[in-house]
């Protein structure tokens, strides 16, 4: 029997430090058969094992397109992430997944696509941004709004620069607190929204970030005329098993690991325990 609790072995191919507390690990499954079978969509997550330290869920932060490896961007917050951050290239970990649902893609073709990310909330959005941009002609417009606490907290800095210069894509950045050398926008990420002029009746927003940021951005988006179905986010809960058994990620009547992690704002509002 295929045991869903048994991790597949993977090796760290590349380690890229993003900020003082976040790092992107490029992982490749050791077994070629498992690599082939490992098909995922943006929004999905994996359970990563650091043997002896434990297991924790991370969203996959790279597009599957043209790659047989994948990125996990990780902030150092505790036991598993702490040990992971000490591992280098060649380090061995375990992977279960891909797990959970994914962002809508075919369904949003033809629309204006707005991404709003806060801090490490850009991690789960990145594969979707990459996939949408790859098929840019299929979408009315692509806008990325990204904010972090300070310029030091901005992740994917090379890619942000690239996105800002790419044709057919608008990418605006902001920080809550400026530092020397920052000439960009200062303010919460919601303060960038007035700079966006798209037809909201034919638009969809992908929002990800800390709970407080999501709350305010969703309010702003609703004010702009985005419907509850046109606001999509991913929820972070501590999914332990990832297969709907252990109940750690249960919120309202949903199991984030099976019903999510991607939810529309309409679905989230229907969850009794969701705090608006």
């Amino acid at each position: 029997m295929n045991n869903p609790y048994l991790p597949k072995l993977a090796t760290i191919q590349k380690v890229k430090v993003e900020t003082y507390d976040t790092t992107t690990f490029t992982l490749r499954l050791d077994d070629s058969g498992e690599r082939k079978a490992f098909e995922y969509r943006p929004g999905q997550f994996v359970e990563l094992s650091v043997f002896g330290a434990g297991e924790a869920p991370f969203c996959i932060s790279s597009s599957a397109h043209g790659r047989d490896d994948f990125d996990l961007s990780v902030r150092k917050v505790g036991r598993v992430t702490g040990v992971l951050h000490e591992m280098g290239e060649g380090g061995q970990v375990g992977i279960r997944g891909p797990l959970g649902n994914c962002f809508p893609f075919e369904e949003v073709k033809g629309k204006h696509i707005l991404f709003v990310g806060g801090g490490i909330g850009l991690f789960p959005l990145r594969p979707q941004i990459q996939d949408v941009y790859r098929e840019r002609a299929q979408f009315a417009s692509v806008t990325v709004l990204y904010g972090a606490r300070t310029p030091e907290d901005l992740v994917y800095q090379d890619e942000l620069e690239q996105w800002q210069q790419q044709e057919g894509m608008t990418c605006l950045l902001t920080v809550d607190t400026a530092a020397d050398g920052w000439s960009g926008n200062v303010g919460v990420v919601g303060s960038l929204l007035p700079k966006v002029s798209i037809d909201v009746s034919n638009a969809v927003a992908f929002v990800c970030g800390p709970p407080i940021m999501i709350r305010f951005v969703v309010q702003d988006l609703s004010g702009m005329g985005f419907g509850d179905d046109a606001i999509i986010t991913t929820l972070e809960r501590h999914m332990r098993c990832g297969i709907g058994k252990c109940n750690h990620c249960m919120i309202g009547d949903k199991w984030v690991c099976k019903d999510g992690p991607v939810f529309s704002y309409r679905e989230m509002r229907a969850m009794a325990e969701f705090e608006e």
Partner: protein
């Protein structure tokens, strides 16, 4: 660091029973010694060293003259482990804090009271930062081994924060309340594997209160079992005095300017992610 991490054991006011528990580990202790070098341990060896990475400290602070020694240990150690109820909670002798200091000295030493020093009895965390507390009177030997494994691998240790009821139920022991007796299990931190209730005793609360004890419930329940307020305090007196349960019990107003009783305790709410 190079080589094996060096471990030193120290003690302040205590019965040394927790160190004895470590000494009594048997096989696991020998296996542990494959990974560490013990350089100081008065209870077990005559050699001494001022150079160590891990300090395991038993006992509470009772005299101001103890403080410089504790601070020196703290400065030297990259990891400081508080061992047992005295080091983590002050221990049973915290109840001495309810008495006037000079009365106390006279009571114990009579005419020679002036020759001795006494102060507020306090846990190590009142004076220095403790990296990992190992609760218990005495400690649970298995937990000591588990903590050492975490230290050796440089991984944060998650201190249990469930009530003793958790382990008592997992072991299917008969509930003390079903024997018409009272028990501190519902508000006491587990990690002991419910050793007292396994032997027909009640929980005495030696691992201190859980992070968020419902002391209102404790008072109501104990009162319904016929306990008066002063009885309830005495039930908590043995180990929980430093945590001032009387505030949570609604028996006294919280003391406003209490010297950092909950100190800096980095193990609280540590994510396992």
């Amino acid at each position: 660091m190079g080589g094996k991490p060096r471990v030193a054991f120290f003690d302040f006011a205590c019965c040394e029973g927790c160190q004895l528990t470590v000494l009594g580990l048997g096989e696991p202790l020998i296996e542990l010694l494959e990974h560490v070098e013990v350089v100081t341990w008065r209870e077990a060896m005559s050699e001494k060293s001022e150079e160590f990475e891990v300090a395991v400290v038993e006992g509470s602070i009772t005299r101001d003259s103890d403080v410089p020694r504790l601070k020196r240990i703290r400065e030297q150690a990259s990891t400081l482990i508080a061992l047992g109820s005295c080091a983590t909670l002050g221990g049973p002798h915290v109840s001495a804090n309810r008495l006037d200091q000079s009365d106390l000295l006279t009571m114990v030493y009579g005419d020679r009271a002036r020759e001795f020093e006494a102060g507020e009895v306090r846990p190590l965390s009142a004076e220095v930062q403790v990296d990992i507390p190992i609760y218990g009177c005495p400690i649970n030997a298995d937990e000591f081994v588990s903590v050492m494994k975490h230290v050796l691998l440089g991984r944060p240790y998650r201190v249990p924060n469930q009530a003793v009821c958790h382990e008592c139920k997992l072991n299917q022991y008969e509930c003390v309340y079903d024997r018409r007796q009272i028990c501190l299990g519902p508000v006491t931190r587990c990690g002991c594997d419910a050793i007292c209730t396994s032997r027909g005793h009640r929980c005495f609360g030696c691992r201190g209160l859980v992070d968020d004890p419902n002391l209102n419930a404790a008072r109501e329940v104990l009162e319904e079992h016929g306990y008066r307020v002063e009885d309830i305090l005495s039930v908590f007196e043995l180990y929980a005095t430093w945590a001032r349960p009387e505030e949570g019990l609604g028996i006294v107003e919280p003391r406003a300017a209490v010297k950092s009783r909950k100190g800096s305790e980095p193990w609280r709410f540590r994510s396992s992610i």
